[in-house]
Subunit: 208 residues, 4 copies
DNA sequence: AATGAATGAGGCTTCATTCAT
DNA sequence: CATGAATGAAGCCTCATTCAT
């Protein structure tokens, strides 16, 4: 009757989601079989169904977990002293925690799937909207962004920043051979310059 | 037996690819069945196998065709008088031809699939590299880009531009409800400002 | 383009239904697997799904076919010169055509399934109602039934007759060991007396 | 540890059988899962296996209990002053105890299952034989049945009576919508007339 | 005695692919 | 060239049963 009776299931869910993440990233949502997932998790197929209603539910749950991770990340980003540091926190996150381009493949698959599954589309839209609003607020509150170039609004700046980030994430998928860290580093060099361009127009010249 | 039959296979292939594009966009590569495609094309299932070895071959062929379309587009872009006009041509292309976000779903699926299928990854990488090099050249040759902000190289500028474009394409997927034309217009307003920021640093102030 | 292109599928359907009847009678609707049916029919599992949407559809189709058989039977019964002969035709039918108690098990299963599947219940109710109305009419038109005992209406007489018939059908299920023909004969001796009792009250005495 | 625990298994068994009866009637033997039964009984799945070897054993036990109930019923029927009253007791029994057509569905399922499960067939045959013999004896001893019409023997009369009863029970299954009590009443009106016809041939005319 | 997590075989169904016509 | 009937492997999911706690 203590909450240790509830926790195991939480762990099981997490364990299954971890396995599913690996399988989905490796083969895609629909190519990964429930058997693949169970094998990856080291459990039987049937057990998955004690914790998830069906395959779609696993996908949704993973999107849900993704949402929470994004939420936490946003919280951490909010506590950075400057806007640029916040952005740095936000956009270096996914290269560290899990495998590097596993996340990329997963996210792209998530969007692909969302284009056909309205329920999932809502979830992803919700995640994105939360994150976007968070960054929009960060920008609006930041002194660096008071004189944004081209009269871009905080929201537009956020859209731009997210678009670049998503776009680079898609790019990752094609760069399987190179060293992921180095690749990320190169990407960061570019986006950092964009951020500076957007938020510190005066510091642009040669000594960048 | 007339010479109009010399290359019916070209038309058939195109017809099948058109149908496949619709099906793939609607349901995804693996969710779309060969029967779906044959029905959409108004032919029998078996006939598809006269023109394509198997399902994967259809996907590859579609990527191939995509490559040619991109190639043509690049050619057209190259003939624009200014860099900004070239970019405009490049990034307004996909909203016209077919349905608006059909293309988006297809491209995202293409990347998702590429993350597991090395052959496809090569193809997509090849497409991207060609387009990217084309734009890099455009930038390098363009007088507007001689004093790029933040010391960004032409290649880096191209990467940035493509990333934004891909990122917005992913965004499209989530915006199923709104008017596609209006959505595109809003996106264009933002990217145009970015381009101006990148290539006309002097024209940034309030009177933009 | 001739109707020979339609017929094969009719045959296939019949072939599958024949196999299904055997399997269902042997193991019951839910215990008979689609594989059992395909094996009995000598075809592959997948082929069943070209002719039936799913398992339930096979059951419905069988009920449908049963309905048609009953219909034909009723037609034949209508042409008999006397009421008693009509009844004889009606209630000796199922022991002849196919295997003897296969039919019994199937019908009992059909009712059992109907108790949970409203769609099927409607179908069976429809079959029963048609048959019942047919017999009610036969009785109403028959001179023998003008002075029915106990003031039983034609409809009530029909209900009674059908009830006995169904009840004996259930009984069949338990009598697997004995000779089916002999069993039927014994049943017939009893029901014939009932019929005479109902329709020829005067002829009851010792010389029956 | 008190002596009230000496036979908790009897109660448990009854509790499980009650739950099983509800589930079996609602979904059928094979469609009702052990989990359904445990949920209906408010216990865990595993516990069922403490009291029954397996699912088939539950079915057998239920048939066994059914047998005892029939036995008791027969005892009560035997004590009625007249044959017709005995019959009335026998054939109004199942409409009272539990839900009305729950019993019907269960019995029909029982026969359906018996057609494939010889052990169960024996059990059901045994039940039926006991009841049938009981009624045969009642008839043989009854003064009303000394001059049975059509020279029907007591055994044949019993068969007829049971057949009608079983047949009406099957009919019940299709009549889910109407008021059960009213339906039973209508059925009784018909069978009562049959009984009178069989046992009081003289009282048949208009003043019935 | 009681629980319910865990197993894994097996059922229904789909679908890429083949091939006789 | 074209059809679509046919195959059978494979996927999702359920469920009777077991067993550690």
């Amino acid at each position: 009757m203590s909450n240790t009776q509830i926790e195991p299931s939480v762990d099981r869910r997490a364990q299954i989601l971890d396995a599913a993440m690996i399988c989905f990233a490796k083969r895609g949502f629909h190519q990964a079989s429930m058997h693949d997932i169970s094998a990856e998790a080291g459990i039987s197929v049937g057990l998955i169904y004690r914790y998830f209603e069906n395959k779609e539910d696993v996908i949704s749950a993973m999107a849900d977990r993704h949402k929470k991770q994004i939420h936490d990340l946003l919280e951490r980003a909010r506590q950075a002293p400057t806007l640029l540091e916040s952005l740095e926190i936000l956009f270096t996150a996914h290269c560290c925690e899990n495998a590097p381009q596993i996340q990329s493949a997963f996210v792209v698959d998530l969007y692909a799937e969302a284009s056909r599954n309205p329920r999932l589309a809502n979830l992803v839209r919700d995640i994105l909207e939360t994150a976007m609003q968070g960054v929009t607020d960060l920008i609006a509150r930041s002194p660096e962004a008071q004189h944004a170039p081209q009269n871009l609004t905080p929201r537009q700046l956020a859209e731009l920043i997210f678009a670049v980030s998503r776009g680079m994430l898609m790019r990752d998928i094609l760069e399987t051979e190179r060293d992921p860290t180095e690749r990320r580093e190169r990407q960061l060099r570019v986006v950092r310059r964009l951020w500076r361009l957007l938020f510190k127009p005066e510091t642009e010249p040669a000594y960048a």
